[in-house]
């Protein structure tokens, strides 16, 4: 047996090249010959092909001989063999669940493709596609995101189209009344030559429902409606207590969890001491890490239920998809 194997190894090393040169052959190896679908005890040279073609359509040079140096061959159909891709790779077309980001951020996750005014657009978070309110409409979105090697213009996949501004606590107020009062106050300060000036800041920012944004692809051929390692979205469903969920994200790939809380009001930290209050959120156990933001959250039946955007050591915080869709005027 070991002798057989060594003998076939040396035969294969001589003939490997001319076997691989034949049409459709993608791999050669040594295995047990299969006859009529059943494995036999006979060692043979296995040629893997993208597709099996009837012998009548092949010339003698194209056909794999039934034996090589008196060692039998077997032909099996494997299809095209591809390198396994990971979510931080470059994908064209790009599915949901892979790395994406505004040029000025690190990287987040491309949630999924949704429809805005008849056109397919990328859905992810504001803090992934719009740099937490700091971006301009039309800014470049890269796939993969900058942290994963994405660069401009080679990996420019889309342009920022729209984002829902996040209201942070303690940021300058837009209240016209308060600002008018304080400018009168500051005028007074100036009149008495004081160097002190006052600014109105929000003690309690408006409630946020979503951290969401969309981006339009430069090339419609770059759209892949599937979610990486999950498949096709089968509609939407409203998140409920106890619902089993899953997501496919840039950092932790496909993970599963359960909705443990609904109607959640939570304070979320956005680096640099910025805090934003979110209401009507879904809360699940730990199923994400930094870089998974923007992941589409689906139920067991692949129905879209939320947009992942934040988490702690033990929890994951998810926007309700119905709030995301209505805030951006989008649909599946």
């Amino acid at each position: 047996m070991a002798d057989d194997l060594n003998r076939i190894r040396s035969i294969l090393s001589v003939h490997r090249r001319q076997l691989l040169e034949r049409p459709n052959v993608v791999a050669t190896g040594i295995g047990y010959k299969e006859t009529g679908g059943a494995k036999t005890e006979q060692l043979c040279i296995v040629c893997s092909v993208t597709e099996k073609v009837p012998a009548a359509r092949l010339s003698a040079q194209e056909m794999i001989p039934s034996a090589v140096d008196s060692t039998p061959t077997d032909v099996i159909q494997t299809g095209i063999i591809r390198a396994l891709q990971v979510p931080t790779d470059r994908f064209r077309p790009a599915p949901g669940g892979v790395s994406v980001g505004h040029v000025a951020i690190t990287a987040g996750t491309l949630g999924c493709w949704v429809t805005k005014e008849g056109q397919k657009v990328i859905l992810s978070n504001n803090h992934v596609l719009a740099n937490s309110n700091a971006a301009e409409i039309g800014d470049a979105i890269l796939q993969p995101g900058p942290f994963d090697g994405g660069s401009f213009p080679q990996d420019h996949i889309a342009k920022l189209t729209q984002f829902v501004p996040i209201s942070f606590q303690g940021e300058p107020s837009e209240c016209p009344f308060a600002n008018a009062v304080i400018s009168v106050f500051n005028l007074g300060c100036r009149l008495i030559s004081s160097n002190t000036r006052y600014q109105v800041t929000k003690l309690q920012a408006e409630d946020n429902l979503v951290d969401a944004a969309i981006a339009t692809p430069l090339n419609p051929a770059d759209v892949n409606d599937e979610i990486f390692n999950i498949g096709t979205i089968q509609g939407t469903v409203s998140g409920e207590l106890g619902m089993a969920i899953k997501k496919s994200g840039r950092t932790t790939g496909v993970t599963t969890g359960e909705i443990q809380q609904v109607d959640v009001t939570a304070n979320v930290q956005y680096g640099a001491g910025q805090v934003a209050l979110f209401t009507d959120q879904l809360l699940a156990g730990a199923m994400s890490q930094g870089g998974d933001s923007g992941s589409a959250v689906l139920d067991d039946g692949n129905r879209l239920t939320g947009l992942l955007f934040a988490g702690s050591e033990t929890t994951t915080i998810i926007n309700r998809i119905e709030n995301v869709f209505s805030a951006l005027g989008i649909s599946l």
């Binding site: 207590l241 609904v262 109607d263 979320v268 680096g271 870089g291 702690s312 033990t314 929890t315 915080i317």
Partner: protein, 94 residues
């Protein structure tokens, strides 16, 4: 701005009527009524509706770490609904 103000003036009595029609407040009403006060307490980062250890609907208060003072000032029940305190850590955008 004026339209919002007018809408609010019209809506407030309507909402109040809705509340009066239903005598016993729902867990959502109770949570909404108390969450601002919870979120002011040291270490509170979230308030939601989940389940207690017996599987009953409960108001769940999340803390970013150990805060004995906060924990001792949160009641075990509110208007008949259980209140559960969990340490979940700080919530960060990911």
């Amino acid at each position: 701005m004026r339209i919002v103000a007018i809408c609010t003036v019209i809506l407030i009595p309507l909402l109040a009527l809705g509340d009066d029609a239903d005598m016993s407040p729902s867990i959502l009403d109770v949570k909404k009524q108390h969450e601002a006060q919870f979120l002011k307490m040291a270490g509170v980062v979230s308030v939601g509706i989940g389940l207690d250890s017996d599987g009953n609907q409960a108001i769940v208060v999340g803390l970013d770490g150990s805060h004995p003072d906060t924990e001792s000032s949160i009641p075990a029940t509110l208007e008949g609904f259980p209140v559960v305190v969990q340490t979940i850590g700080s919530i960060r955008a990911q």
